[in-house]
């Protein structure tokens, strides 16, 4: 088994012809590696199929490169570069904390003391810590005092420490917000240390870590600030850190909880009282600038913290009252940042090589294929995307890059023992999973929990993403998923000779309708589950204006995503955010009050709960999921309706549609969509084929479709556990065809694309890609239809 010594990422997902894409490579061991640009056609190595198909591309960057190791410095924190006012003889540090892993397993990947706040490095300086035993610890140089009382995890604690340089006395306070009946009292700890603080030069003031070492080595260049490698990354929330330059009394500490209070006309100081204003060094308010990566200092020196690796903000603070769930309406109750030791916003690796894409380079799925003589291999996928106004085809494949990011580096098979219940068998792990289980610094997916157990709601594309790779079978299906599954569709398009452009979710999010209206038909990926609002707006505008949409999968238009605006300076779509809120298929669940995005302030969760039903986009919406095996479809009488009968030219009425495939063995499988006119399917939608009654017990109704826990929701029993292939017309000669199963595309390449699923999709695509509006439906089809109150006969036609 390979150790994955070769990993990399590009600075772009989509690159325009004529522009340059840069590649960042970690080659940990081999002296040389070879880079070749390849066009990706099929990524599934299933021996029953065509196997891996890639075409070498002549590119100026093809060649051999020197290998070098590059490291990811994950873990979020805040820092202020060293300043004279941070060099203290006496101090008071105080903050609220809500620790999630105060004690860790000795083998835990970052076992050890965690830094809370301070300016401390290698036995010099001052700092507040959580020590290995999970107790609050004050360090003055290499002197340590601790309360000896382990902090309760997932609970708020007020902590403070003072040191008087003149008397040499230190006092440490640990005051839990909640005291249970049998909790011992935690008195303040006083101790005479009698040392002069050795303020280290060049060491930043840090929150949620400590300065581990100042390092001039190459691997430390990707840390931030470069050359200073942080240690002791803290897991949990920190709220309202304060730093004063004297040892305050307990009463003054209490007053100092109010923090700096600037802004009143009659006030001539930064508050909270005249005396305290004289001693404030920093008073940070994380409620200010929630949508930024700055931790604002309201004190007199404006020592704003640079926040690194994008911790989770818009988190409830120690004073959350439960009356407002939107941080924009009650910012003072959202003064907490939740830091994690595996947060990662940017690997910050050096560039190893770049490719200026030729002006005439066709749009397609590409990858930089990296190999070594020793047998190492990695692929860095990207897409060549025409600029707006320079479309080269009538067909556009909308590459679901937000969904790829949501699944990026997922760990579900690694340590989620319960995942077996979902897949109804024992998960199979691949090299990528094994590597990630050890290398937590590569970060997780939005399906995972952080190493502290809290949900991951942010994902960056500036890191190696080992799940967006060919030859990668996902544990959910023992088959391709997302990127490699979408290559099944690409393989079919290529085999059938269609000319297509690739556009990404990023392009549609930033360019809107301008991206889509260049094409006669938009084809989706197999599982475009994660979407931005502007993207859905663009799709609606497109289909309403006569555009044609082929929805090639299922469980789409499901989760609300937004790109974090604080990363716009690095490019488009760097970090995507999502919150798993009140319902939906959730591998973790947001805590109360933490439903709003930190980046855009919009309500997160399912589009359905923002009043934007998923069924409204392409006609069908998710109803069930199961991950053991797939099944097939039968045509319904509605498939004979002249509005849609053309789609079945050459396909017998009684044929089993898609009882074959590379995802679960059939076209109807994994996650399944149905028509529901009460949830946004247009009332004139035709169900042309269905897999009703053919699914196993592993398939379960989605939880948003029922109100209480109940029996009878599996594929052997519930009528909504099925996939409906559906068609409906949109105004101005547009239309949507929804194939409604994630496994569907896995049937396209079967038997060298000679099969009835291929035939059906070909019939639809050939009609949808033609110039001009689609032929109008028969006049008899124009009629009033209800949503719930339709008459069954209204939607049916005779054979």
């Amino acid at each position: 088994m390979g150790a994955m010594r070769l990993t990399g990422y590009a600075d772009l997902f989509g690159v325009n012809p004529g522009k340059t894409i840069r590649f960042h490579v970690n080659c940990d061991g081999p002296k040389k590696y070879k880079a070749e640009i390849v066009k990706m056609i099929n990524g599934d190595t299933n021996p029953r199929g065509p196997g891996l198909v890639e075409k070498p591309i002549r590119a100026a960057c093809n060649g051999e490169y020197d290998g070098r190791k590059q490291a990811i410095h994950s873990g979020s924190y805040g820092y202020v570069e060293d300043k004279p006012h941070l060099h203290l003889d006496s101090f008071t540090m105080q903050c609220w904390i809500w620790p999630t892993t105060p004690k860790t397993h000795p083998k835990y990947w970052r076992h050890g003391a965690q830094g809370l706040m301070g300016k401390w490095c290698n036995g010099k300086g001052y700092g507040l810590f959580l020590n290995e035993a999970g107790c609050i610890e004050l360090r003055v140089n290499d002197e340590k005092i601790s309360t000896g009382a382990p902090v309760r995890d997932h609970a708020w604690h007020f902590i403070a420490a003072t040191y008087d340089g003149k008397t040499g006395e230190a006092v440490l306070y640990h005051e839990p917000q909640i005291a249970y009946a049998l909790d011992p009292a935690i008195p303040p700890v006083k101790k005479k240390l009698g040392v002069a603080i050795d303020n280290p030069k060049g060491v930043p003031f840090t929150v949620a870590c400590y300065a581990g070492k100042l390092d001039k080595g190459a691997l430390a260049k990707s840390s931030k600030p470069a050359g200073i490698v942080m240690g002791g990354h803290y897991n949990g929330k920190i709220d309202s850190p304060r730093l004063c330059r004297t040892a305050l009394s307990r009463q003054d500490i209490e007053t100092m909880k109010l923090g700096a209070q600037p802004g009143l006309t009659e006030r001539r100081h930064c508050g909270p009282t005249g005396d305290l204003a004289k001693v404030i060094v920093g008073s940070w308010d994380f409620a200010d600038g929630i949508d930024t990566i700055i931790g604002r200092d309201h004190g007199p020196y404006l020592y704003d913290l640079q926040i690194v690796n994008c911790p989770t903000r818009a988190m409830t603070g120690h004073n959350f009252s439960g009356h407002n769930f939107d941080w924009k309406h009650a910012p003072k109750e959202y003064g907490a940042i939740h830091f994690h030791d595996d947060d990662i916003d940017d690997a910050r690796w050096d560039v190893d090589f770049e490719w200026q894409v030729p002006e005439n380079q066709p749009s397609a799925y590409y990858a930089a294929k990296l190999t070594t003589k020793e047998g190492d291999e990695d692929y860095i996928p990207f897409w060549v995307v025409p600029e707006v106004g320079k479309a080269t085809a009538k067909i556009a494949m909308m590459v679901p890059t937000i969904s790829y990011m949501a699944y990026a580096n997922e760990h579900l098979a690694n340590n989620a023992g319960g995942a077996e219940l979902l897949v109804y068998r024992v998960p199979i792990m691949q090299d990528q999973n094994m590597f990630l289980s050890e290398h937590r610094e590569y970060g997780g997916s939005i399906y995972d929990t952080h190493t502290d157990g809290s949900g991951i709601c942010l994902s960056s594309r500036l890191r190696p993403i080992l799940s967006i790779r060919p030859k990668y079978d996902h544990f959910l299906m023992q088959a391709p998923w997302q990127y490699p599954a979408d290559l099944h569709l690409i393989c079919w398009l290529e085999t059938m000779g269609y000319k297509y452009d690739c556009i990404t979710d990023e392009d549609v999010t930033y360019d809107g309708l301008a991206r889509l209206e260049q094409y006669n038909v938009i084809i989706t990926g197999s599982h475009p589950e994660h979407n931005s609002g502007p993207q859905l707006d663009a799709l609606h505008n497109y289909t309403q204006r006569g555009g044609r949409l082929m929805y090639m999968g299922a469980d789409a238009w499901y989760w609300i995503h937004s790109y974090h605006p604080a990363y716009d300076h690095l490019g488009r779509g760097i970090v995507t955010e999502m919150r798993r809120c009140e319902s939906g298929i959730r591998t973790w669940r947001a805590d109360p009050g933490e439903y709003y995005h930190q980046g855009t302030g919009e309500l997160g969760g399912m589009w359905r709960y923002r009043g934007r039903y998923l069924h409204s986009v392409a006609g069908t919406g998710m109803s069930s999921e199961g991950f053991d095996i797939s099944s097939y479809y039968s045509r319904t009488e509605e498939s004979n309706d002249p509005r849609v009968a053309w789609a079945f030219d050459g396909i017998g009425y009684d044929e089993k549609l898609g009882n074959f495939g590379f995802v679960g063995g059939g076209a109807a499988g994994t996650e399944l969509d149905i028509v529901d006119t009460m949830l946004g399917s247009p009332p004139h939608t035709l169900v042309v084929a269905t897999s009703a009654g053919r699914h196993t017990e592993a398939y379960l109704l989605v939880m948003e479709d029922y109100g209480f826990s109940q029996q009878g929701i599996d594929g052997t029993q519930h009528p909504r556990v099925r996939s409906d292939i559906a068609y409906h017309e949109t105004p101005n000669g547009g239309a949507c065809f929804a194939f409604s199963s994630i496994a569907f595309c896995g049937s396209l390449p079967w038997n060298n694309c000679q099969n009835n699923i291929s035939k059906l999709v070909g019939n639809v695509l050939n009609r949808f890609m033609k110039d001009g509006p689609l032929p109008p439906p028969p006049a008899s089809a124009i009629k009033h239809r209800g949503r719930a109150d339709y008459e069954p006969a209204t939607n049916k036609v005779a054979k």
Partner: protein
């Protein structure tokens, strides 16, 4: 809860035989479930297994739900070479610590390890697994490993 069938009982022998038959029929499917394909490797028609043997169905679900009581992590399958070789492993349960291999057996297909893990779990689980005599503090603290990623 339904007791886990003990060694030497006809129920246990029946479950193992049915499970094996299902797994054999799933070879070649890009997926897997404990059902019998009427045509091996083809999911068009499936029957038996978890749909018709209630005890097999319940025991399998309990195995998937339970954390092993022996202090070890859950068993997984590890693909050591795509489409060619697989081994059985055990999850560490500690973030940053990868799974370790269990035994030396190398499989040439992805379905057979499913069956061996089923038999290993029958051996590892006690008849009364999950019943009050097994209570420990972890019951109060979500130690069921769902969902720890």
């Amino acid at each position: 809860m339904i007791p886990i069938p003990r060694k030497g009982t006809p129920e246990r022998a029946r479950l193992i035989a049915e499970h094996k038959a299902c797994i054999e029929s799933m070879k070649g499917v890009a997926g897997c479930t404990i059902l019998r394909c009427a045509t091996p490797g083809d999911t068009t028609e499936v029957s038996g297994g978890i749909h018709e043997d209630l005890l097999l169905n319940r025991v399998l679900i309990r195995m998937r739900t339970a954390m092993p009581k022996n202090g070890k992590g859950k068993l997984v399958v590890i693909c050591t070479e795509p489409d060619k070789s697989w081994r059985i492993g055990r999850l560490s349960g500690v973030r940053g610590v990868p799974p370790t291999f269990v035994g030396d057996k190398i499989y040439d297909n992805e379905q057979d390890p499913q069956h061996d893990i089923f038999v290993m779990r029958l051996d590892e689980m006690t008849e009364t697994d999950g019943m009050p005599e097994h209570f420990h503090e972890g019951w109060k603290r979500r130690d069921d490993n769902w969902t720890v990623t």
